[in-house]
């Protein structure tokens, strides 16, 4: 069964249509990337899938079931999102413990803190961070908290919106390793939005290239490594990335 199935998805913000007839399938356990420039509609697709935006037509299926944007709670049991900016996505006046317990309270799950301890361990944060506030932690540590929060409800699907682009290279490496490890351990499916092709090469099996709200090409990691895209636009993105690289 496929984890995500998009059929002819159209998304509009008021009268401006930002995604035009996007269709794609992500298999269970796969790691899939959406790449493109800003404004190409990649984050918009992510928001539609997790129910943050219900202004869409077409069809979204998660694990074979049609998504109904009115049933947000159901969606969040299956899929969770990690945002770009760890400085903006954590509540500044809530401790790590409160932040992590909140999803459990919302979904009425009784738990005496075991899950919080377990998840802190899973993302490699020491227990002493449990009662800290976001401003007492570094960017990398905050992103670990955001990942832990996304994992609290044991989702099968993680939606990652530029999870490392606000971080330093060395911290980015730590977070990428963590995501790869978690995917293996917990058998997760990833849908990653990024503009960074090397990150895709490290973390993903396939990618969709987007331009102005349309998917122009779906390619494999092999094609990315060798730079053998079929569409000129994808090739252009690849060259821009390659141009910048030292080794």
């Amino acid at each position: 069964m496929s984890a995500i199935e998009l059929n002819n998805l159209n998304i509009a913000y008021s009268s401006v249509q930002v995604v035009h007839g996007a269709s794609l399938t992500v298999e269970e356990g796969e790691s899939f990337a959406l790449v493109g420039e800003s404004g190409s509609g990649k984050s918009t697709i992510l928001k539609a899938i997790c129910g943050l935006n219900d202004e869409w037509t077409g069809e979204i299926k998660l694990y074979g079931e049609k998504v109904d944007p009115r049933k947000r709670a159901d969606i969040s049991r299956i899929s969770q999102m990690v945002f770009q900016d760890p400085y903006g996505s954590l509540h500044p006046r809530k401790t790590v413990d409160t932040t992590l317990s909140e999803p459990l309270t919302i979904h009425g799950i009784k738990d005496n803190g075991d899950r919080v301890v377990e998840m802190l361990n899973a993302v490699g944060l020491d227990q002493r961070y449990r009662f800290r506030f976001p401003h007492q932690m570094s960017g990398g540590q905050r992103q670990r908290v955001a990942i832990a929060r996304a994992l609290m409800l044991k989702p099968k699907l993680m939606l990652l919106d530029e999870p490392t682009s606000a971080l330093d290279v060395s911290v980015q490496a730590e977070i990428l390793n963590l995501l790869k490890q978690l995917r293996k351990d917990q058998n997760l499916t990833f849908l990653l939005v990024t503009h960074d092709l090397p990150v895709v090469s490290f973390l993903c099996d396939r990618l969709a290239v987007m331009k102005k709200g349309k998917i122009v090409e779906i390619a494999t990691r092999d094609q990315l490594a060798k730079g053998t895209f079929n569409e000129p636009y994808s090739q252009e993105l690849y060259q821009a990335s390659k141009h910048e690289h030292v080794a």
């Binding site: 060395s170 490290f202 821009a240 990335s241």
Partner: protein, 278 residues
């Protein structure tokens, strides 16, 4: 690199805190000719502070000290705030990271660029307009006459950054400091903006200090690279020679980056204890 544009020796930037003084730049020294120098490092390494210190833009209670601090024969240590204001913009200027926050939202592009020029020179309106349009053409903006009338919110990020570059280069400074000039831009636009800076620098024979966290970018757009960590310069290298870096910190940074044809299962991460003692 015949004459030296900037000489810095033992530059220190200190901020007082409740726990005593914290030194964010710990006595660094470097020279700059009419060349392209890059300062690379992670957040908190002191690279931006170094850039600001050169313009004496560190506000009290922060303190800047240096044994030698000379720009083109002018001792920056001895310059008053008023004299500095004459240098800033006219002789040394700075391109900031984010055009969204660095352009004045209530001034049109035209007025904004003209302001940079008017501060330092007296020109007639006609001369000003001509210079502004010419500068906009130089930063490769299509239809400069139309763009000149627009306001910052009406232009894209890449265009905003080009406008900022126009603004900084119009007084024809000798030294341009670019602090993360492209990190707020898309990958495809980044290359355009950097090529543009590069061309203008070469044409006008200026000096450039490129401050960035991105080693790849720096390798392509600088002649020399200083790698900073925790307020110190840990390594100096020619950009072409960057792969052969010997300091563990630089090597760590290079290895931590994923590649386009990635085959490693795990990325090596920095062991921060390794050089903490040095």
């Amino acid at each position: 690199m015949s004459q030296k544009l900037l000489e810095v020796e033992d530059l220190r930037v200190t901020f007082p805190t409740h726990q005593g003084d914290v030194e964010v730049v710990k006595g660094i020294s470097f020279d700059l000719g009419r060349e392209r120098l890059a300062i690379v490092g992670e957040s908190g390494s002191g690279k931006s502070m170094t850039g600001r210190a050169i313009l004496k833009l560190i506000r009290s209670p922060g303190r800047v000290t240096a044994k030698k601090f000379v720009f083109d024969g002018i001792d920056l240590n001895k310059q008053s705030e008023r004299q500095m204001r004459k240098l800033r913009g006219a002789r040394i200027s700075m391109v900031m990271q984010d055009p969204k926050f660095s352009l004045n939202p209530v001034l049109s592009i035209e007025d904004q660029i003209a302001e940079a020029l008017r501060t330092h020179q007296t020109l007639t309106r006609k001369e000003l307009d001509e210079k502004v349009l010419h500068m906009l053409e130089q930063v490769r903006i299509n239809d400069p006459a139309r763009v000149a009338k627009l306001y910052p919110h009406e232009v894209s990020g890449g265009m905003g950054q080009r406008i900022m570059i126009a603004m900084m280069l119009i007084p024809e400074p000798d030294l341009l400091i670019a602090d993360e000039p492209t990190s707020a831009l898309d990958v495809s636009v980044q290359a355009q903006v950097l090529d543009l800076i590069d061309n203008l620098i070469r044409e006008k024979g200026m000096g450039l200090i490129l401050i960035s966290h991105d080693l790849n970018l720096v390798a392509n757009y600088a002649d020399r690279v200083l790698v900073m960590n925790a307020g110190e310069i840990v390594e100096q290298r020619d950009a072409a020679d960057l792969q052969n870096a010997t300091h563990p910190y630089t090597q760590g940074l290079l290895n931590a980056m994923p590649r386009l044809d990635e085959t490693r299962d795990e990325l090596p991460t920095l062991d921060r204890t390794q050089w903490a003692a040095t």
